[in-house]
Symmetry: C2
Protein backbone atom coordinates (compact mmCIF):
# COMPACT_ATOMS: atom_id res chain seq x y z
CA UNK A 1 0.00 0.00 0.00
CA UNK A 2 2.46 2.60 -1.14
CA UNK A 3 0.38 4.38 -3.69
CA UNK A 4 -2.11 7.09 -3.07
CA UNK A 5 -5.06 5.73 -4.96
CA UNK A 6 -8.43 7.35 -5.06
CA UNK A 7 -9.89 4.17 -3.56
CA UNK A 8 -7.72 4.53 -0.55
CA UNK A 9 -8.56 8.21 -0.26
CA UNK A 10 -12.29 7.46 -0.40
CA UNK A 11 -11.94 4.87 2.33
CA UNK A 12 -10.00 7.25 4.54
CA UNK A 13 -12.57 9.97 3.89
CA UNK A 14 -15.33 7.62 4.99
CA UNK A 15 -13.75 7.26 8.41
CA UNK A 16 -13.17 10.98 8.75
CA UNK A 17 -16.79 11.67 7.91
CA UNK A 18 -18.29 8.94 10.06
CA UNK A 19 -16.38 9.54 13.29
CA UNK A 20 -17.45 6.18 14.59
CA UNK A 21 -16.37 2.58 14.06
CA UNK A 22 -17.38 1.24 10.66
CA UNK A 23 -17.87 -2.28 9.37
CA UNK A 24 -16.41 -3.24 5.99
CA UNK A 25 -19.89 -3.09 4.47
CA UNK A 26 -20.46 0.39 5.92
CA UNK A 27 -17.12 1.54 4.55
CA UNK A 28 -18.02 0.22 1.12
CA UNK A 29 -21.39 1.94 1.17
CA UNK A 30 -20.02 5.30 2.26
CA UNK A 31 -16.97 5.26 0.02
CA UNK A 32 -18.99 4.23 -3.01
CA UNK A 33 -20.88 7.51 -2.84
CA UNK A 34 -17.68 9.17 -4.01
CA UNK A 35 -16.24 6.36 -6.00
CA UNK A 36 -18.89 4.32 -7.74
CA UNK A 37 -16.48 1.68 -9.03
CA UNK A 38 -15.16 0.35 -5.74
CA UNK A 39 -15.06 -3.34 -4.92
CA UNK A 40 -15.50 -4.94 -1.55
CA UNK A 41 -12.21 -6.79 -1.96
CA UNK A 42 -10.40 -3.48 -2.18
CA UNK A 43 -12.08 -2.36 1.01
CA UNK A 44 -10.90 -5.45 2.85
CA UNK A 45 -7.41 -5.14 1.44
CA UNK A 46 -7.13 -1.51 2.44
CA UNK A 47 -8.59 -2.00 5.87
CA UNK A 48 -6.05 -4.72 6.52
CA UNK A 49 -3.19 -2.60 5.19
CA UNK A 50 -4.29 0.44 7.15
CA UNK A 51 -4.39 -1.59 10.34
CA UNK A 52 -0.88 -2.84 9.64
CA UNK A 53 0.26 0.70 8.96
CA UNK A 54 -1.22 1.81 12.26
CA UNK A 55 -3.79 4.12 10.69
CA UNK A 56 -6.78 2.11 11.86
CA UNK A 57 -7.49 -0.31 14.67
CA UNK A 58 -9.91 -3.20 14.59
CA UNK A 59 -12.88 -2.99 16.92
CA UNK A 60 -14.11 -6.46 17.77
CA UNK A 61 -17.63 -6.56 19.08
CA UNK A 62 -19.47 -9.52 20.54
CA UNK A 63 -21.60 -11.22 17.93
CA UNK A 64 -20.94 -8.57 15.32
CA UNK A 65 -18.66 -8.35 12.32
CA UNK A 66 -15.46 -6.47 12.98
CA UNK A 67 -15.51 -2.69 12.83
CA UNK A 68 -12.60 -0.36 12.29
CA UNK A 69 -11.80 3.06 13.62
CA UNK A 70 -9.03 5.65 13.48
CA UNK A 71 -6.05 4.57 15.53
CA UNK A 72 -4.49 6.51 18.36
CA UNK A 73 -7.62 7.28 20.32
CA UNK A 74 -7.42 7.26 24.09
CA UNK A 75 -8.52 4.14 25.94
CA UNK A 76 -12.23 3.85 25.46
CA UNK A 77 -15.04 1.40 24.94
CA UNK A 78 -18.02 0.97 22.65
CA UNK A 79 -21.75 1.32 22.73
CA UNK A 80 -23.91 -0.56 20.24
CA UNK A 81 -27.41 0.66 19.52
CA UNK A 82 -29.85 -2.23 19.36
CA UNK A 83 -32.11 -0.28 17.04
CA UNK A 84 -29.87 1.21 14.37
CA UNK A 85 -26.94 -1.15 14.92
CA UNK A 86 -24.48 1.71 14.86
CA UNK A 87 -21.51 1.65 17.19
CA UNK A 88 -20.29 4.66 19.15
CA UNK A 89 -17.22 5.36 21.21
CA UNK A 90 -17.64 6.03 24.91
CA UNK A 91 -14.84 7.57 26.92
CA UNK A 92 -13.69 6.39 30.29
CA UNK A 93 -13.41 3.02 31.88
CA UNK A 94 -14.59 0.99 34.85
CA UNK A 95 -13.06 -0.13 38.10
CA UNK A 96 -12.69 -3.45 39.81
CA UNK A 97 -11.49 -5.45 36.84
CA UNK A 98 -8.60 -7.05 38.68
CA UNK A 99 -10.92 -8.44 41.33
CA UNK A 100 -12.77 -10.53 38.79
CA UNK A 101 -10.07 -12.91 37.69
CA UNK A 102 -8.82 -15.92 39.65
CA UNK A 103 -5.46 -15.35 41.29
CA UNK A 104 -3.65 -17.76 39.03
CA UNK A 105 -4.78 -15.99 35.87
CA UNK A 106 -2.96 -13.04 34.37
CA UNK A 107 -5.16 -10.19 33.19
CA UNK A 108 -3.67 -8.49 30.17
CA UNK A 109 -6.56 -6.58 28.69
CA UNK A 110 -10.31 -6.16 28.52
CA UNK A 111 -13.07 -5.19 26.18
CA UNK A 112 -16.31 -3.69 27.30
CA UNK A 113 -19.33 -3.37 25.07
CA UNK A 114 -22.36 -1.48 26.21
CA UNK A 115 -25.66 -2.09 24.50
CA UNK A 116 -28.85 -0.10 24.51
CA UNK A 117 -30.42 2.65 22.51
CA UNK A 118 -28.65 5.69 21.13
CA UNK A 119 -29.95 9.22 21.46
CA UNK A 120 -31.26 9.41 17.92
CA UNK A 121 -33.24 6.19 18.17
CA UNK A 122 -34.53 7.03 21.60
CA UNK A 123 -35.92 10.32 20.35
CA UNK A 124 -37.56 8.71 17.32
Amino acid sequence: MERNTRQRAAIRAAFQAARRPLSPAEVLEIAQRDLHRLGIATVYRNLKAMVEDGLLTAVELPGEPDRYEMAGLAHHHHFRCRTCKRVFDVTGCVEGLKDLVPRRFRLEGHELTLVGQCGDCRAA
Copy 2:
Protein backbone atom coordinates in the same frame (compact mmCIF):
# COMPACT_ATOMS: atom_id res chain seq x y z
CA MET B 1 -36.73 -30.85 19.40
CA GLU B 2 -39.12 -33.10 21.19
CA ARG B 3 -37.27 -36.35 20.98
CA ASN B 4 -34.54 -37.53 23.24
CA THR B 5 -31.98 -38.54 20.69
CA ARG B 6 -28.53 -39.78 21.56
CA GLN B 7 -27.11 -36.86 19.60
CA ARG B 8 -28.85 -34.42 21.83
CA ALA B 9 -27.76 -36.33 24.91
CA ALA B 10 -24.14 -36.30 23.76
CA ILE B 11 -24.28 -32.56 23.19
CA ARG B 12 -25.77 -31.96 26.61
CA ALA B 13 -23.15 -34.22 28.17
CA ALA B 14 -20.41 -32.20 26.51
CA PHE B 15 -21.55 -29.07 28.30
CA GLN B 16 -21.88 -30.83 31.63
CA ALA B 17 -18.35 -32.19 31.29
CA ALA B 18 -16.75 -29.00 30.05
CA ARG B 19 -18.16 -26.54 32.60
CA ARG B 20 -17.12 -23.65 30.41
CA PRO B 21 -18.49 -21.98 27.26
CA LEU B 22 -18.01 -24.10 24.15
CA SER B 23 -17.89 -23.20 20.48
CA PRO B 24 -19.85 -25.32 17.98
CA ALA B 25 -16.60 -26.92 16.85
CA GLU B 26 -15.64 -27.75 20.44
CA VAL B 27 -19.07 -29.26 21.05
CA LEU B 28 -18.69 -31.41 17.95
CA GLU B 29 -15.26 -32.60 18.96
CA ILE B 30 -16.26 -33.48 22.51
CA ALA B 31 -19.59 -35.07 21.60
CA GLN B 32 -18.05 -37.12 18.83
CA ARG B 33 -15.96 -38.97 21.39
CA ASP B 34 -19.19 -40.64 22.49
CA LEU B 35 -21.04 -40.58 19.23
CA HIS B 36 -18.78 -41.04 16.27
CA ARG B 37 -21.49 -40.44 13.70
CA LEU B 38 -22.42 -36.88 14.58
CA GLY B 39 -22.66 -34.12 12.01
CA ILE B 40 -21.86 -30.47 12.50
CA ALA B 41 -25.30 -29.50 11.18
CA THR B 42 -26.90 -31.41 14.01
CA VAL B 43 -24.74 -29.58 16.50
CA TYR B 44 -25.84 -26.23 15.11
CA ARG B 45 -29.48 -27.26 15.03
CA ASN B 46 -29.39 -28.50 18.59
CA LEU B 47 -27.52 -25.51 19.92
CA LYS B 48 -30.11 -23.25 18.36
CA ALA B 49 -32.97 -25.32 19.70
CA MET B 50 -31.46 -25.52 23.16
CA VAL B 51 -31.05 -21.76 23.24
CA GLU B 52 -34.70 -21.36 22.25
CA ASP B 53 -35.71 -23.84 24.92
CA GLY B 54 -33.76 -21.87 27.49
CA LEU B 55 -31.27 -24.64 28.20
CA LEU B 56 -28.30 -22.78 26.83
CA THR B 57 -27.37 -19.17 26.30
CA ALA B 58 -25.14 -17.78 23.58
CA VAL B 59 -21.89 -16.21 24.68
CA GLU B 60 -20.76 -13.67 22.14
CA LEU B 61 -17.11 -12.80 22.31
CA PRO B 62 -15.29 -10.07 20.44
CA GLY B 63 -13.67 -11.40 17.31
CA GLU B 64 -14.47 -14.99 18.16
CA PRO B 65 -17.09 -17.46 16.99
CA ASP B 66 -20.07 -17.69 19.31
CA ARG B 67 -19.82 -19.95 22.34
CA TYR B 68 -22.63 -21.49 24.31
CA GLU B 69 -23.03 -22.27 27.97
CA MET B 70 -25.63 -23.63 30.35
CA ALA B 71 -28.38 -21.12 30.98
CA GLY B 72 -29.46 -19.81 34.34
CA LEU B 73 -26.07 -18.88 35.68
CA ALA B 74 -25.75 -15.76 37.81
CA HIS B 75 -24.63 -12.56 36.11
CA HIS B 76 -21.04 -13.06 35.14
CA HIS B 77 -18.47 -12.31 32.48
CA HIS B 78 -15.84 -14.15 30.49
CA PHE B 79 -12.13 -14.54 30.36
CA ARG B 80 -10.42 -15.69 27.18
CA CYS B 81 -6.97 -17.19 27.35
CA ARG B 82 -4.75 -15.88 24.59
CA THR B 83 -2.67 -19.03 24.64
CA CYS B 84 -5.14 -21.92 24.65
CA LYS B 85 -8.13 -19.93 23.34
CA ARG B 86 -10.41 -21.43 25.97
CA VAL B 87 -13.05 -19.27 27.57
CA PHE B 88 -13.81 -19.27 31.30
CA ASP B 89 -16.54 -17.75 33.40
CA VAL B 90 -15.62 -15.12 35.95
CA THR B 91 -18.05 -14.13 38.68
CA GLY B 92 -18.81 -10.61 39.73
CA CYS B 93 -19.10 -7.38 37.86
CA VAL B 94 -17.69 -3.89 37.68
CA GLU B 95 -18.88 -0.47 38.75
CA GLY B 96 -19.24 2.82 37.00
CA LEU B 97 -20.97 1.59 33.87
CA LYS B 98 -23.69 4.19 33.94
CA ASP B 99 -21.17 7.00 33.96
CA LEU B 100 -19.78 5.97 30.60
CA VAL B 101 -22.78 6.57 28.38
CA PRO B 102 -24.01 9.95 27.14
CA ARG B 103 -27.09 11.17 28.94
CA ARG B 104 -29.33 10.79 25.94
CA PHE B 105 -28.46 7.13 25.50
CA ARG B 106 -30.24 4.34 27.31
CA LEU B 107 -28.00 1.65 28.73
CA GLU B 108 -29.72 -1.73 28.64
CA GLY B 109 -26.88 -4.17 29.08
CA HIS B 110 -23.21 -4.78 28.83
CA GLU B 111 -20.69 -7.44 27.98
CA LEU B 112 -17.24 -7.59 29.45
CA THR B 113 -14.52 -9.81 28.09
CA LEU B 114 -11.26 -10.13 29.91
CA VAL B 115 -8.25 -11.44 28.05
CA GLY B 116 -4.96 -12.76 29.29
CA GLN B 117 -3.47 -16.06 30.27
CA CYS B 118 -5.23 -18.79 32.23
CA GLY B 119 -3.68 -20.61 35.17
CA ASP B 120 -2.83 -23.72 33.18
CA CYS B 121 -1.03 -21.84 30.44
CA ARG B 122 0.74 -19.58 32.87
CA ALA B 123 2.14 -22.56 34.72
CA ALA B 124 3.30 -24.26 31.52
